[in-house]
């Protein structure tokens, strides 16, 4: 039998075989480890645990232990600027450049006041209130070419950012939200479907009160007159003429602010929103009204 015959025969055999499919293939032999541990004289030699040491005895050392060496995690001195990091508030950044790009892609409606709920809704920003993140921090990257006129409410902003927004005739407010309110703002639908009344926003903690009551940082608890003075002062510092908001056609939108106890624009604490029937239930009981108004 020549090699040609062999080839032909094997090819004909191959042709007569069924097509390969999921139904007639199987794993390579020994490609899957046997889930059962072998027993007996030679069946259960080492059970794949290796020879000698903690590997075989499966008494592994604790994490970071270097068998008597000074462990790496103790070798460097402690870094005290991290002290209390688990208690500090974090404000994940959003740059002015990113904000501009969100606006340019029309994923943010600037004819309405912008707050963290609308920024989240754009789908291009996310944060996690359960990880001590207390909302959005606007950073000054892209401040030079930021060109939108907006009424925005953020949780933290630097002086440059405030200047960049006010230069375009916009308005910025820094507002504090407690983690529970931020949960609602992050996913309002989930909250409305839980059928609860909208709670009140809580007041800021003592170590944040200075920021949120200061007119310099445009805090939501600051005196509006002080804020207008600071606006002028900042424009003089950065050398731009402050656009007069009062003559704007959308003055009403630009002057809209949330109440310090309010979480959603247009919705008051104490209301129940039903998405299925598209209705709002407002409390009438005096005690409830009193509770939600304080």
């Amino acid at each position: 039998m020549g090699s040609r015959q062999i080839t032909e025969k094997s090819l004909s055999m191959l042709r007569s075989l069924p097509r390969i499919s999921l139904g007639n293939i199987r794993n390579n032999p020994k490609s899957k480890p046997n889930p059962k541990r072998g027993r007996g004289q030679h069946g259960g030699d080492k059970h794949g645990a290796g020879n000698k040491g903690s590997g075989q005895r499966q008494n592994y050392m604790r994490l970071g232990y270097e068998t008597g060496n000074n462990p790496f995690y103790l070798r460097v001195p402690q870094e005290h600027y991290y002290r209390g990091h688990h208690l500090r508030r974090e404000y994940p950044p959003l740059s002015l450049h990113q904000l501009q790009s969100i606006i340019d892609r029309d994923r943010l409606d600037i004819t309405k006041p912008i707050d963290i709920a609308s920024i989240i809704r754009s789908g291009l920003y996310n944060f996690f209130p359960d990880q001590k993140q207390f909302g959005v921090q606007l950073t000054d990257e892209g401040a030079d070419f930021f060109a939108a006129k907006i009424n925005i409410e953020v949780q933290w902003a630097s002086e440059q950012v405030i200047a960049a927004i006010e230069k375009n005739g916009g308005v910025i407010t820094t507002a504090y939200y407690d983690p529970h309110s931020l949960m609602l703002l992050k996913n309002p639908k989930k909250f409305f479907e839980s059928g609860q009344a909208i709670p009140r926003r809580m007041i800021p903690p003592p170590d944040a009160i200075e920021y949120y009551t200061s007119a310099k940082t445009r805090g939501y608890l600051a005196d509006p007159e002080e804020i207008s003075k600071e606006r002028l002062r900042l424009s003089q510092k950065y050398g731009y003429t402050l656009p007069n908001i009062e003559n704007e056609p959308n003055y009403n939108m630009l002057s809209e602010r949330k109440d310090p106890r309010q979480i959603f624009y247009g919705l008051e604490p104490g209301w129940v929103i039903n998405l299925k029937e598209k209705c709002i239930l407002k409390p009438k009981d005096l005690e409830l009204l009193q509770f939600y108004s304080t």
């Binding site: 200075e210 039903n274 299925k276």
Partner: protein, 248 residues
């Protein structure tokens, strides 16, 4: 609910059996009956068709969920009796859920509890917190200024302090040098006395040194005495001159 279900399932069976064994007589009776009965009949038939169409094999609860209805009317678990679950039902299915929407608002007790919690969690009003923050800020600034003042006052004195220190060091070194020189001179003198090099630890040397030192001390004492006398003399002379001047 279960009762209701049974009736639903019973009816088509009855009707089916009726049809199966029906003759024209039955139809005649039906025609004689009111329109309402026919309506019921049609509805039942419709229900039967729907039942036969549903080949999903889903449980009733799942079937309801898929069709946007609350899964079951009767509670199946203790959690279905909670306020939270009923609120959720209202939130999700609206008034079709059959939940009284007044459940969605907190009760008097809940309000009381909430207020109590807030009184503990937020013990200070915004105004109080602002005042404490302002006070703390002022204190810190005052502390910094105080420190600055202290440093400035000390810096003004720095040159004088430096001079004093250098003088002190110079004086000390001068004293040390003088003492050293004196000692060396003495040793040299002793050596000269013996006329040869002698080990300073030698007894003779030590004796001689002590002697020399004694002499030196004596000399010094005398010198001091003489100086004193000189001063006295000068003083006396001065006085004499003054007296003579006065006499003149």
């Amino acid at each position: 609910m279960s009762l209701c279900l049974r009736s639903k399932y019973l009816r088509p069976n009855l009707i089916g059996s009726l049809f199966r064994y029906s003759t024209s007589q039955v139809e005649a009776i039906e025609q004689n009956d009111q329109v309402l009965v026919e309506d019921e009949d049609a509805l039942a038939r419709e229900a039967e068709i729907e039942r036969k169409r549903n080949v999903s094999r889903l449980t009733e609860a799942h079937w309801n969920l898929v069709n946007g209805r609350r899964p079951y009317v009767e509670p199946k678990n203790w959690s279905h009796l909670t306020v939270k679950y009923n609120r959720k039902l209202y939130g999700k299915y609206g008034s079709a859920s059959g939940v009284n929407p007044s459940l969605c608002f907190p009760t008097r007790n809940e309000i009381q509890e909430k207020m109590e919690y807030e009184a503990v969690a937020y013990p200070f009003t915004i105004k109080q917190m602002m005042e404490t923050a302002a006070k703390n800020r002022k204190e810190q600034e005052e502390k910094i200024q105080q420190r600055d003042r202290d440093v400035a006052a000390k810096y003004a004195k720095l040159d004088q302090w430096k001079k004093d220190l250098l003088d002190k060091i110079a004086k000390k070194t001068a004293e040390v040098n003088a003492a050293k020189e004196k000692k060396e001179r003495l040793v040299e003198e002793v050596r000269r006395h013996f006329g040869f090099k002698l080990d300073p630890r030698d007894e003779r040397f030590q004796e001689m040194l002590a002697k020399r030192e004694k002499e030196q001390k004596k000399l010094e004492k005398q010198a001091r005495k003489e100086a004193k006398e000189k001063v006295m003399l000068a003083k006396l002379q001065q006085k004499n001159v003054e007296i003579s001047d006065l006499k003149k």
